[in-house]
Amino acid sequence: MKNSQEVLELDNVCTYIGRTEIVKDASFQIKAGDIIGLIGPNGAGKTTVMKTILGLTKFTGKITMSGAAITENNHHALEKVGALIEHPAIYPFLTGEQNLELYSHHHQDMVKIISELGMDSYIKSKAKGYSLGMKQKLGIAIALLNNPKLVILDEPMNGLDIEATIGVRKLIKKYADRGTAFLISSHILSELQKVMTRVLLISGGKIILNQSIGQFEAISHQKYKLTTENDEQAEHLFKTKGINFKKQKQYLIVGQEDIFKIQDELAKKKLHLKEMLPIEANFEQIVVDTLNKERD
């Protein structure tokens, strides 16, 4: 039931902590079913952006949720927002279930979320005995309660094992397919790459890039791996013609920008290509490259 209905909009939002401007002029939209990855280095302002949306900080500019304004003193528009910020908000003296009940309006939904996250076996024991990952899952469960329109997750995969990570990823996709929008920050970039539909790169408090995942991967330096009938000869040829390449196992790795030139030169030498394949974009490298470009 995907549609392109707008859920959240930030207009020239600047966040202040004391007198320091932390988030600088952020503007973006989130639509129903979007899974936005908020990516940036430590201290970039990811958590601060999220707290600002939740009306927890001083800010200028405008934030609206389905058209209704969110301010520091009016959180009514946040009714349909679930959130996990930095650390799961859990009362250790309550059981997992009691923690959920504090916020839950629909018992049936709550029970479903518990089983979707595989927490049945320990949900009735006190949260103080939970492991890091169990707490994290409970925090995610709290964020998913009450059919939220927008779910904000700050580093949700923190402390989760592989199985749990896959589970959470599936769950996020499932909710997004039903129209729930997600704003997720994470350091485990490859994790996000598999779910997100848009990328927001943030650095030094500024949103420096806002693109769909498709666009994002296209602008990245696509690399190709190739083998020829005679790789030794090919290597020699590349060196003499000034073509950058790397050897990796049985392949020669080259950049997209050299593809035409390579094909020309190989043809001239009557060297036949045996195989040439694009390499999947190395996501983390893309992020680092983009951030570096921004700094220059």
């Binding site: 927890l56 003193n73 959180h75 959130a83």
Partner: protein, 251 residues
């Protein structure tokens, strides 16, 4: 507001600080039962409960608020509510009601302990110097509850200021043990300034004794009525300062 109150009460009961506070009350009254000779004033002051209830309340108040920050639940609490005042008031009320509960518990304990230690020696409804023991006990506990209003405000203000439970508990103990003597000493040292000094907040501690012992008015330099009003006003002032700090505290 009602939902906020319900939630806070729920948390308060489940956190079991309520039970812990009651336990402390039990232990301290038992201690004074075992170590002190029991006379009429032991009964009037509920086996020391009058002194201990404020100490328990300052600790419980601070712990009950600070745990929201320790557990990071403050983020949820704040974003799910538009009104910080509502959160603050709900917490204030819950802790204050708890002090009333402790006072009621102290009455029961006093009955029980007197029955065990001095059975039949004192009659609750017999008149001593124009008062019955029962009315004096109730009056003292009423004083203690008013003082607790002051203490809840102080506790919330201090925890927002120093953000550490242990510090607030230490301040509470110092207040309980030296507050009154410090206040009287202060007024002795500067006899010309008594008119102003008698309004110092430390002087409010006399409220839990003076209501039944008129002679304490000589130490506090305040009438009962003045004392009650001043204690409540201080409670409100501390409460408001605490609220201001709470509003500005970053999460």
């Amino acid at each position: 507001m009602l939902t906020a109150l319900k939630e806070e009460t729920y948390k308060f009961c489940h956190e079991q600080i309520a039970l812990l506070g009651l336990l402390v009350l039990l232990v301290t009254t038992l201690y004074s039962t075992l170590t002190k000779t029991i006379n009429k004033s032991t009964l009037l002051f509920a086996f020391g409960a009058i002194e201990w209830i404020p100490v328990i309340i300052i600790a419980v108040g601070a712990a009950f608020f600070e745990m929201e920050y320790d557990n990071k639940t403050i983020v949820m609490l704040l974003y799910k509510n538009s009104s910080k005042l509502k959160i603050y008031l709900a917490k204030f009320l819950v802790v204050f009601c708890y002090s009333i509960a402790l006072a009621l518990g102290a009455i029961l304990l006093t009955f029980l302990l007197s029955l065990l230690t001095v059975p039949g020696q004192y009659h609750w409804l017999a008149y001593y110097q124009g008062h019955t023991i029962l009315t004096d006990l109730l009056l003292n506990l009423f004083g203690a509850v008013i003082y607790c209003f002051f203490i809840v405000g102080l506790s919330f203000m201090l925890i927002m200021l120093v953000k550490a439970n242990t510090v607030v508990i230490c301040i509470g103990l110092v207040l309980a043990y030296f507050g009154a003597s410090f206040s009287t000493a202060l007024m002795h040292t500067f006899p010309t300034a008594v008119g102003i000094l008698k309004w110092n907040p430390l002087n409010m501690i006399f409220i839990s004794q003076q209501l039944t012992r008129g002679s304490f008015a000589l130490k506090s330099n305040l009438t009962n009525f003045q004392l009650i009003i001043a204690t409540v006003v201080y409670g409100i002032i501390f409460g408001l300062l605490g609220y201001y700090l709470f509003k500005r505290r970053r999460v």
